[in-house]
């Protein structure tokens, strides 16, 4: 429980910083549920984790309705993308980068948005980077960048 609550206390804080560009989103959420607006990042994490369909639409739904529950990273299969084993399929839950907004934006532009399915294809011969298949493209990321993407395992 200790780990969990620490995660939660960090989650919204980081979320507010990294999601600063999500002003439009946060404002929408603010309208829907004024007291919950600070947790955009955490909201994404949880809303996707709790919806089995996990499509982007459900993320939006989660944001708009402002449902809120502590994100549960101890939940089976939720991890940082760089920990996902080659050959496995995962689904993106959240993208956060300690205030580096441009980096979050770029990872998202590359297709790493919540709800997206990612197949972990292979590590490079020297262990880094790793090749990921998503949205019809093959993108390779170093561990450092992949660590910013939170995913949930889909195949066991």
């Amino acid at each position: 429980m200790g780990v969990r609550s620490r995660e939660w206390s960090r989650g919204p804080h980081v979320g507010v910083k990294t999601m600063a560009s999500w002003k439009a989103f946060a404002l929408t959420a603010l309208h829907a549920a004024p007291s919950h607006a600070e947790g955009a990042g955490g909201l994404l994490l949880r809303s996707v984790a709790e919806e089995d369909a996990g499509a982007g639409a459900s993320v939006l739904q989660g944001l708009l309705t402002g449902q809120r529950r502590a994100p549960d990273t101890t939940q089976v299969g939720v991890m940082a993308l760089h920990k996902a084993r080659p050959g496995s399929t995962v689904e993106i839950v959240d993208v956060q980068a300690n205030g580096d907004l441009a980096l979050v934006q770029r990872l998202m532009a590359l297709g790493f948005v919540p709800g997206t399915r990612v197949v972990v294809r292979r590590r490079a011969p020297l262990g880094d980077p790793t090749e990921y298949a998503l949205r019809g493209a093959r993108i390779s990321l170093r561990k450092r960048e992949a660590a910013l993407v939170t995913v949930r395992g889909l195949d066991g």
């Binding site: 560009s21 999500w22 439009a24 989103f25 499509a55 982007g56 639409a57 993320v59 939006l60 441009a102 980096l103 934006q105 770029r106 990872l107 998202m108 532009a109 590359l110 297709g111 948005v113 919540p114 709800g115 997206t116 197949v119 292979r122 590590r123 490079a124 011969p125 020297l126 262990g127 880094d128 980077p129 090749e131 298949a133 998503l134 949205r135 019809g136 493209a137 093959r138 993108i139 390779s140 990321l141 170093r142 450092r144 960048e145």
Partner: protein
């Protein structure tokens, strides 16, 4: 009347330049890795009815929040901030049919700019080959802008596209309810694609099969080493006979000219200066063409991006990234495109570090120098029965340059250019067989650039060298007046070049160089090949020998005043090492100045590379003198 200007935008490697070339008839560089186009290029599209529109090819970008200098160009173009080009009259958005789920949100981002737009979907053939399908009419209805499907490299769909390009005024304005935020853009795009696209199989067929080998933990690294190694064996083994043929032709032509012209200074200028100087460099065209051909295959097939993927960890240790590696590999052709390619690198410090080491990568201008000295002085024996020692030496020189570039990059990146690590991401495209046209354009572009250099910098330098070798004119002593070779040697020994060379000699004697090499070194500050032109004039074919032996033969036979060989092996090796390192290329210096915005970095590059060249040559000469 001002011409209609349309801008081409899209994700990297989605086929913009292929489309641009197909529409404009221009021959801009195309290759199969992200980030080939790094600056804007304008061309005209003939619409067939006499009307024309201007098309601006722009660097690819994943979003309109630029991270690297090349992406900034694209944003500036759309905003009308590029010099001499206002806001475009329309935007031609290009998207790869196989990755629409990734690129359609970017289309939405561009539409948000509210410029008249049209979507061109490329690689429709690859989509079909992987079992996918695209309903263009549904896509068009959903997006609210015209949509055209094309296969750029085969010209399919171009007529429809030209028809649309002729009337940007009629393109409906982009819908004004475009989502303004990135996640909602993906949701918007996914909803459209659910209706318009039958997704292709995730499996990429033989690309995936090939990648199992190319990116295999053990096989992959070995294959990389093998590819690099074969590269240089081929340059040596295959192209050498062609070069002999070229050389025989040049010498033969010179002889024809010699019999046709009256003796005198004009004859000497034409035959020694032109044929001896420029001709001695032009004979290396086969090798350069072959080198470019192999680079074109590596770049066009998609292997380049794989090599960057395989080697990225090493680059990461150096504080650089895979894209820097692609820029360095491009420098095998010439440092100038290599330095230009760094525009795709987001981190300014990594970019600068790459620029500062790129000239260590062995460019095609060194090829004539290496080939001349290696073929003349390194025995053509087989190591272990198969590997050509000459090819191996060449490989060694390339390896020395590449490893030194890496080490220099580490020193720069961990020293004066230390900074935060920028994010690395790279797309691995499917393997594609480069079309004959693309390969041909790549090779001919490089060969033309080489010939242009031969006709300008090298020509001027050759004439200057000729003048320095022939003036002041001296009267030979009577006892040798009938021996043409001796008269020549006497003239050269008493020329202005000799005076300059002898002043220089004390400085280069520790490297085992005499004043003749010294003159070559000075002359090749303009361009590396000039040393070949210089030595060719010094060891000119006098017309007396029976057979038309090559320059290498004449250099091997050359003797110093004390009767020892003019080019002992330690001297040759020291010279080769000197050429691995020294930045003797005014064009590269000018490009470094332009890309860094200051002469300071150009001066630093020249200075430190000269120091390394001198030190390396000195150590080589000392060690070789002891061991050989």
């Amino acid at each position: 009347m001002t011409i209609t200007r349309l801008a081409l935008v899209g994700s990297p490697n989605c086929g913009k330049t292929t489309l641009f070339n197909a529409l404009t008839g221009l021959r801009q560089k195309i290759a199969n890795y992200p980030g080939v186009t790094v600056e804007h290029v304008e061309g005209h599209v003939d619409l067939g009815n006499g009307a024309k529109v201007a098309l601006i090819d722009l660097p690819g970008t994943y979003s309109l929040d630029p991270l690297s200098p090349d992406e900034q160009v694209t944003l500036d173009a759309l905003r009308g901030h590029l010099d001499g080009i206002g806001t475009p009259d329309g935007v031609v958005i290009v998207a790869d049919a196989t990755t629409l789920r990734r690129s359609l949100p970017f289309v939405g981002e561009v539409l948000h700019q509210r410029l008249p737009s049209i979507l061109v979907v490329t690689m429709i053939d690859e989509l079909k080959a992987r079992g996918g399908a695209l309903k263009l009419d549904v896509l068009q209805a959903e997006l609210g802008i015209p949509v055209v499907g094309v296969v750029g490299n085969r010209g399919i769909g171009l007529d429809d596209l030209k028809h649309e390009l002729g009337q940007p005024g009629k393109w409906p304005a982009p819908p004004d309810h475009m989502p303004s935020e990135i996640v909602s853009r993906f949701i918007w795009a996914d909803a459209i694609l659910d209706k318009a696209v039958v997704p292709p199989r995730e499996d990429r067929g033989w690309t995936d099969k090939l990648d199992k080998i190319v990116l295999h933990p053990i096989l992959g690294l070995n294959l990389f080493a093998l590819v690099m190694f074969l590269f240089f064996q081929i340059v040596f083994v295959v192209a050498a006979p062609l070069q002999d043929l070229m050389e025989a032709m040049v010498v033969g032509l010179g002889e024809l000219l010699r019999t046709a012209l009256p003796d005198g200074l004009i004859e000497s200028l034409l035959i020694d200066g032109l044929f001896g100087g420029v001709g001695s460099v032009v004979v290396f065209v086969p090798q350069i063409a072959l080198l470019l051909l192999m680079i074109a295959f590596l770049e066009g097939s998609g292997y380049m991006a794989r090599a960057a993927f395989v080697i990225d960890r090493v680059m990461g240790w150096a504080g650089l990234e895979g894209r820097c590696f692609i820029a360095l590999l491009s420098s095998y052709a010439c440092a100038i495109p290599g330095i230009m390619a760094t525009r795709a690198v987001p981190d300014p410090k990594s970019r600068l570090a790459t620029i500062m080491v790129a000239p260590f990568m062995t460019c095609s201008a060194r090829l004539p120098v290496y080939v001349l000295f290696i073929s003349a002085f390194i025995p053509e024996t087989r190591v272990g029965g198969v590997v050509n020692l000459q090819g191996l030496t060449m490989f060694g020189l390339y390896l020395l340059g590449s490893v030194s570039a890496m080490i220099a990059a580490v020193i720069f990146k961990r020293g004066v250019l230390r900074g935060q690590t920028y994010p690395f991401y790279m797309e691995l495209p499917p393997y594609r067989m480069p079309t004959a046209k693309v390969v041909f354009n790549h090779v001919s572009r490089g060969v033309r650039a080489f010939l242009k250099k031969a006709g300008t910098i090298i020509l001027v330098a050759s004439i200057a060298i000729w003048a320095l070798l022939h003036f002041p004119q001296v009267e030979p002593p009577a006892e040798i007046a009938n021996d043409e070779a001796a008269v020549r040697a006497y003239q050269i020994e008493h020329s202005a070049a000799a005076d300059i060379g002898r002043v220089l000699e004390p400085a280069i004697a520790p490297l085992g160089f005499d004043w003749k090499i010294g003159i070559g070194l000075i002359a090749s500050l303009a361009a590396r090949e000039v040393i070949v032109a210089t030595l060719s004039q010094i060891h000119a074919y006098t017309g007396d020998e029976e057979d038309l032996d090559g320059l290498g033969e004449r250099m091997r036979a050359a003797k110093r005043a004390d009767g020892t060989p003019a080019y002992p092996l330690p001297t040759v090796l020291a010279l080769l090492v000197f050429y691995v390192y020294a930045l003797q290329c005014v064009s590269t210096l000018a490009v470094i100045r332009r890309e860094t915005g200051t002469w300071r970095w150009a001066a630093i590059a020249f200075g430190y590379m000269f120091a390394v060249a001198y030190g390396g040559a000195f150590v080589t000469h000392e060690v070789a003198s002891i061991w050989l």
